[in-house]
Structure formats: structure tokens, C-alpha cells
Amino acid sequence: MDEAEKKKMFDVDSAALLVKELRANFGSGKTKSYGWRVSQMKNIIKMIEDHENDFVEALRSDLSKPELESFVFEIAMLKASCKLALKELKSWMKPERVKTSLAAFPSSAEIMSEPLGVVLVISAWNYPLLLSLDPVLGAIAAGNAVVLKPSEIAPATSSLLKKLLGEYLDSSAIRVVEGAVPETSALLEQKWDKIFYTGNGRVGRIVMAAAAKHLTPVLLELGGKCPVVVDSGINLKVATRRIIAGKWGCNNGQACISPDYIITTKEYAPKLVDSLKTELESFYGKDPLETKDLSRIVNASHFARLSKLLDEDKVSDKIVHGGQRDKAQLKIGPTILLDVPHDSLIMNEEIFGPLLPILTVDKVEESFEFINSRTKALAAYIFTNNRKLKEEFVRAVSAGGLVINDTTLHLAVPTLPFGGVGESGLGSYHGKFSFDAFSHKKAVLYRTFAGDAPARYPPYTQGNLKLLKALMEGSVFGIIRALFGW
């Protein structure tokens, strides 16, 4: 490696210097001001508006993402997030007054939000714009300095983000570090005030272990096998279209909240498969490898991974639709499989692709037990008109979030916390939850010098004990009695 290359390398020392610099800048207090936060958020909107076409191009280059998907899931969602934050920031920043207990009378108290400091956002490749800037937005809204590490698997978006964030945002407090494992590891060795990671469970563990060395809190947005339970007696056409939109319409199944597999009854399965075939054709035409409305498989390694899932013994013969592949173009057609073995690879790792296994059960209720026997997913879906089944699903199935009679849409609701549980992650964000995720909620108690409870202090006596008990109980009568020594 020559000198020039060595210089460009982002190693542990570079990472340490970066954090030191940002900490000093954060220490100046500028990121805490309402004005600064607003200016940055407005600049993010401007950046997206000025360069919408550039982003769409980058997403096309990285993922062959259809323009409409880029618009809806990345650009529009991001802008909506920014606009909401701009509108609500004042109220989010206001301290929250709270009641104090009688034991601390007289006093007043509040909870104030303050930034954590210098935070790290590690983003993913499948929604490389949204999953980079939505968390960054939360960090800025909460008043932090932030380093973004976009995914190297979406290189066009990564370099565009590096270029544009440098132009539009305050680089004394907001920086982008590009790179792969070495650069990420260098970053992870540093002490951050929070790490926000979107990705898979394996790397999530590495991130949390690195954070543990510095007692850094983490927010992990992971994935899982998001199940869809399909009952009978529903509007099958609408349900089918919503499943397709959530599966192949979301980056061709390469999304953490995409329906991973379906469970339905043996009786209903044929109807569902037919409906899926019909609607798939109306969406993508007779030859789905030709359509421009599907993202491609992101790279050769994932293509090989997905092929392996399809080629497994006892799985390959369960394909009931699709299965077409084009290795050169990195395309796999929407593929449906019926009743693959439960111990197959395709049923034991997150698919993250355009393959949809359908498992059948005798009674639809049995699906809940199956789902609960597996690790908790980021989302779970059910299509049903049966109120009891709905209630049982909501009560019994644990996942990050649930949607009844649709898929993936909860992503767009800022009043719902978006995050996982168990293997699918910890922490949540979106809307105010983003602001909170990057804030420390500091409890503040104001006491006056009057109104002391002598019972608190030594020397300790039985009278103290009685009074304390009454105070803790909050019983005014008890307090009066104790004060008078009764």
C-alpha cells in the first residue's frame, strides 16, 4: 500500500480523532440550540428536494429499485419525517412537568430532554437512504452530533450521501464515514453516547458487545421471519394485493418487515395460491424477469444465498409458481412454495428475497403456536374478519409490531413505535420515538428550604419511624397524628 493509500485509510486512530473533534464541537453547545436543529432539518429537506433525481438514480444503480418505490419508501417517507419533526420539535424539546409526591413536599419537578452527545448511526443496504437519514434526523432533532456509516453494499447511495451531507449539513457536527468492515470496526472501538444499528442479528451482537465496553446504550433494528396468517372469509383479492405489495413491492422482499412466509389452512391454500398468481401477473406481467417494477437481488452473494434456499432437497419440488432466475441480471422471479419442510433452510433463516413459502395447517388457530415456537420477528400480519381470531392474534403473538389486514404500512405511522423485540431488536423509533431514542430524559427536582421532614434525619427514634411511615404512605391524617406524637 503506498503512502497516499495509507493516508486515506480510515483506521482506529482516524476514528478516535473524529470522535474527539465532534465531542469538542458538541461541547460548544451549538447542536443544542433549537435554531441549529431546525436549520439542519430544513437543509435535509432541501437536499432531498434538490437531488431527488440523483437519489433515484443511485437507488436504481444500487438496487434497480423502481422509481416509485424509491419515491414512496425512501424520499417521501424521509420528507414526511423531517416535516413532522420540524412541526413538533418545540413541543418535544419542552420539559415535561410532573407531580411530586407528598413525601417530597413542597417541591416541583420536571423531566427535561437533553442530547446524549456524539452518536453513531450504522445503516443498511436495502433502504440505504431512509435507514441512513431517518435515524440521523432523530439524532439531530435531539441535539446530538452524529456520524453516519452507510452500507458499503449500496455504494452509489453511500457516496452520494457522503457528498451531499458534506454540502448541505454542518460538518462540524454531522459526518459520514464510508467503508466496510475495517472502517466499521474502527468506529465501533470508540466511545459513543449511543449507537443506532439497522441490520442483522449477527452483526447486532457484535455492535452490542463493542458498545458494552463503553457502557454505550444501543438501539438495534434487526429482522426476523415476519409471518402472515391468512384466514378464510376475507376479501381475498385485496388481501393478496396487500401481501404482494408488502413482499415483492418492498425491494423485492429484501426488507426487514416484508412478509417472510404465510400460514393458512389446507383448505384455503389453493385459493390463495391462485389469487397470488393472478395478481402477480396483473402487477408484473407474464414475464416478471422483464418488468421494471421490481428491484433486483442486491448482489451475487445474496443471489447465491437465495438460490441455495430454492435448490435444497425437498424444497425445490415444492415450488408452485415462479422460480425463474437470471444470474447475470441478478433477478429471481416472484416464487411461491407450498408446504416446505419446517426444518428446511428456507424456513430457518430470514429469506430477505422474492421467495414466499406457504405453510398449511388444519385449523387457522394452530398458526399462532407455530409462530410462537420461533424467535420473535420485527412484524407479524394477519388477514381475517373474525373478531375473536383478531383478538387472540393480538394477544398471543409477540413481535415488534402487528398489522391486521395489511402488511408493512405501520412503517409509515409516526405515532406507532417502530422496533423489534427479542431477536428482532431492542429500542424503537419514528416520530417522537426517534427524538426520545437519542435523548437523555433528565429528572429535575426543585426543593425549597422550607418544609423539611425531621424524621428523615438522624438521630433516629421511634417517633421518626412512625412519621416516616405516614409520610411514605401519603396519608395526611397519619402524618398529623405522627407529628403530634399519637
Binding site: 451482537r205 406507532l416 416516616l468
Partner: protein
């Protein structure tokens, strides 16, 4: 090996029992909380005795800091649990009509609570209250450094609470290490940052969320108070807050004080008087003070004083009674800032007072050190209060008192930075042991064609309007009046 197998079986059983769904019921949770209240009332004397044995705590201190705290917590939970368990409806954007959304709290599953030796009852039972309220199965691992309390909990909990879901496991570091190898749905840890790192590293292997209640050097700023009565109250609160709880062995207690140089001697005189009033002046028989927990900590604390430049800064106290495990309330004036007594959390009855030229310098002093669990400031200067709040960071800030934020159920209790993360007390205890599950209810009517491929510009235009919440535009579009 056998112990490990036993432990494994116990945990498997707890998990199976949790899956049965019993803990989901509000009635089960309330019954457990009520049973805990009975335990505290019936066994008060036994608890006083155990705390006296482990730490020499007076019953008033034990009630104030341990039993009373848990009783209050439990009652608060009982009266609020229905409200906490109820789903919270969420407002959704109009464009999504008729969709509804709610957030439903659910238990995380099987949770582990590590408590600490300095408040061995409340730091075990207060988190337990939260875990039960949220509907979890719980294992408590009390600290082995307070063995009488650990044994007492191990004996009493199975008698009063439901042993199919709540267990106490006693033992030393080896038992803790074994527990940490298992997969938990949450770990709640109170203790030192060193062990906090170990706990979080172990949790990382299973992606287990953790709450770490750690410590730090909590400073108390004493501004000049013009009113003598205010000053008296302030001094009383400082003395009560420093040496009252467990002889200064408290994460939330005052570690050191910051004052203006010209004020130091007045402050020290007042502190001395108050100390004598509270604890007597017979160093061989100090009243109302808990013991230092064990020889290791006693030696650690006496070592802090050994450095000659530290020793020479003692202005009050300093006597050590190893037989009774008591250290006299000790005040030091301006020990060297690089001495261990000023770089490590003291966790004992030694109070360094650091002088500065101007009280405003305290902010920079505090900021150059790791974030503490609490900052205390005695001042009537509103501008100074504002500066402290906006320019420093700590778990909490209390003005004109010490430690009392602990008993406010409405205030979140937790640290930031080196002092920890996560929080509890009141509804925060419930939240910390819950998963907030977002639920979105959609209907089959009102399909939006623009959601689906094949894509075209018309659909793109529609979606732009939808995302801009341009309702008028959408309406016109739907009515066919806008292309």
C-alpha cells in the same frame, strides 16, 4: 456441574410457566403485589434484623431507604396497574382513514434482576415490583455481600409469592456468571460500572436488552446562601444525604462538594456541628451510622486516606474502627485532584470539599468528569440553576436537597453515560420490563390503487399528494377533477 444443571432446569421451568400465560392476567399481578405488601408488613422485624446484621442499619434508616421505598412502589403500582396495562390509542394521519392504531404493552418474558449490597432489600424488590407489574417471570440474584438479606429473601419470597414464576437464586460470582450464560428477555442490573460492562457483554450474546443502574461521583454544589436558616437547612440535608444512607455507600449519595474558597471554612464548621448532632462525637461509638459492608471495602476506604497529601487535607474525622467496621464522618479540604479519592467513586463516609474561585467554575469542573447519577446544587440563583441544567449532564438534578428524587414515583430514576442507562420507578418500572407492541388495524374497504404496480406517473402524482397530506389535492384527484 450439578448446580449448573439444576439452574438450567429451574430456568427452563420458569420459561415454560411463563408461556402458560398466567402472568399476563392483571389479577395474578395484583395478587403478587399484594402478597409482597404482606411480606413487608409481616416480616418488618426480620428485615430490620437482617439489615442490621449485614450493614448495621438502624430501623429508621431501614424503613426510610428500604421497606418504605418498596411499600410505596408496590402501592403505587397496585393503584396504577390497570391504567398501565391498557392499550394506548394512537392518532393516525387522516389519509389512512379508517385505520386505527394502538400500542399494547406486553411482558418481555423471563427477566433477571441483579441487586446490590448497599440497599439489599429495596434494590432487589423495587425492580421486582416493576417486573411483576409488567407480567414477567423473574429471577432475583441478591448480592452475596449482604448475606443475611440474601438468605432472608430466599426464605421469604417462596412463602409469600408464586414460586412458579418468581425465584430467588443466591450465590457468589460463579452463580452470577452461570446465570449470565443463559438467555434472558431482560437483565436489570444495579452495581458498579465494571460489572455493568460484564453484564452487558454477556447480554450482547443473546441481544438481551439491559438496564444498568450504576454510580459515579455525585457532586454537591454549595453556592453562598445569604439566609442563615437556609444555610442550616442546606447543611442538615447535606449531612443527612451524605452519611445517612448506608454511611455514604450509596450510588445516589453525595460523593464530593464544590464551594467557593471564601465560603469553605464556614461550611466546614457548620458541617462539623451537624455531624456531631446526628452521630455523636464519640468516635468509638458512633450512633446512627451503618457499617462499612466488609473488610475489602474498609481497606479500600482507608487506603484512600493513606496518601500523605490526602491525609493532610483531612479537616474533620478520619478515625477508623476496623473492629466495628465504622469510619468516622470525615471531611477533607482540597485533596489533590489526581488522588484516587477524587478519581474513583468513594462509596463511603469520606467527603472531599473542593474549593474554586467562582461558583460558576463548578460547571466546567463537573463537565470534565464522567456523567454522574445525580448533581446536587444548593443555590437560590435562578440563572445558575439554568446554567447547571443546560450545561451539565447527569441522571438527575436536585436543587436544594439530596437524594429525595428517589421517592418521587413520577420521576424516572436512572443514569446517563458512565452512570448507566435505562430507568425505573413508577410507570417507568412497568415500561422498562415491557415491550410496547405497535398494532395497526386496517380494513378491507377503501383500497388505494396507486399502491400497486404496474407503476405510472399518475400513481406517482397521487402518492406525492398523499405523502404531503395534500388532502384537497387527493380529494380532487379521487373525484376525477385533478389528473
Amino acid at each position: 456441574m450439578e448446580v449448573k444443571m439444576e439452574l438450567h432446569k429451574t430456568l427452563e421451568e420458569l420459561r415454560r410457566n411463563f408461556k402458560s400465560g398466567t402472568t399476563r392476567n392483571a389479577s395474578w399481578r395484583k395478587a403478587q403485589l399484594s402478597a409482597l405488601l404482606h411480606l413487608l408488613r409481616h416480616c418488618e422485624e426480620k428485615i430490620f434484623a437482617a439489615l442490621n446484621e449485614d450493614l448495621g442499619k438502624d430501623p429508621v434508616e431501614s424503613y426510610r431507604d428500604e421497606i418504605g421505598v418498596v411499600e410505596k412502589s408496590t402501592k403505587h403500582s397496585l393503584s396504577h396497574i390497570d391504567q398501565w396495562m391498557a392499550p394506548k390509542k394512537c392518532r393516525l394521519p387522516l389519509v389512512m382513514f379508517p385505520t386505527t392504531g394502538e400500542v399494547l404493552p406486553e411482558p418481555l418474558g423471563l427477566v433477571l434482576v441483579f441487586s446490590c449490597w448497599n440497599f439489599p432489600i429495596s434494590l432487589a424488590l423495587d425492580p421486582l415490583v416493576g417486573a411483576i407489574s409488567a407480567g414477567n417471570a423473574v429471577v432475583i440474584k441478591p448480592s452475596e455481600l449482604a448475606p443475611a438479606c440474601a438468605t432472608l429473601l430466599a426464605n421469604l419470597i417462596p412463602v409469600y409469592l408464586d414460586g412458579s414464576f418468581i425465584k430467588v437464586i443466591v450465590g457468589g460470582a460463579d452463580v452470577s456468571a452461570t446465570l449470565l450464560q443463559h438467555k434472558w428477555d431482560k437483565i436489570f442490573f444495579t452495581g458498579s460500572p465494571r460489572v455493568g460492562r460484564i453484564v452487558m457483554s454477556a447480554a450482547a450474546k443473546h441481544l438481551t436488552p439491559v438496564t444498568l443502574e450504576l454510580g459515579g461521583k455525585c457532586p454537591a454544589i454549595m453556592d453562598s446562601l445569604s439566609s442563615p436558616s437556609d444555610l442550616r437547612v442546606a447543611v442538615k440535608r447535606v449531612v443527612g444525604g451524605k452519611w445517612g444512607p448506608c454511611s455514604g455507600q450509596a450510588c445516589l449519595g453525595i460523593d464530593y462538594m464544590l464551594v467557593e474558597g471564601k465560603f469553605a471554612s464556614t461550611l466546614i464548621e457548620l458541617l462539623k456541628k451537624e455531624i456531631v448532632k446526628c452521630f455523636g462525637n464519640d468516635t468509638r461509638d458512633l450512633k446512627n451510622m451503618s457499617r462499612i459492608v466488609n473488610k475489602h471495602h474498609f481497606r479500600r476506604l482507608s487506603n484512600l486516606l493513606e496518601d500523605p497529601s490526602v491525609f493532610s487535607s483531612i479537616v474533620h474525622g478520619g478515625s477508623l474502627n476496623e473492629e466495628k467496621m465504622l469510619i468516622e464522618p470525615t471531611i477533607l479540604l482540597d485533596p489533590p485532584l489526581d488522588a484516587e479519592i477524587m478519581t474513583e467513586e468513594i462509596f463511603g463516609p469520606l467527603l472531599p470539599i473542593i474549593t474554586l474561585n467562582d461558583i460558576q467554575e463548578t460547571i466546567e469542573f463537573i463537565n470534565s468528569r464522567p456523567k454522574p447519577l445525580a448533581i446536587y446544587a444548593f443555590t437560590k440563583d435562578d440563572n445558575f440553576k439554568r446554567r447547571i441544567l443546560s450545561e451539565t449532564s447527569s441522571g438527575s438534578v436536585t436543587f436544594n436537597d439530596v437524594m429525595i428524587q428517589f421517592v418521587c414515583d413520577q420521576l424516572p430514576f436512572g443514569g446517563v453515560g458512565e452512570s448507566g442507562f435505562g430507568r425505573y420507578h413508577g410507570s417507568y418500572s412497568f415500561d422498562t420490563f415491557s415491550h410496547e407492541k405497535g398494532v395497526m388495524h386496517r380494513r378491507f374497504i377503501f383500497e388505494v390503487e396507486s399502491r400497486y404496480p404496474p407503476w405510472n406517473n399518475l400513481k406517482l402524482r397521487f402518492l406525492r399528494m398523499a405523502y404531503n397530506f395534500d388532502y384537497l389535492g387527493l380529494l380532487l384527484y379521487i373525484l376525477g377533477l385533478k389528473g
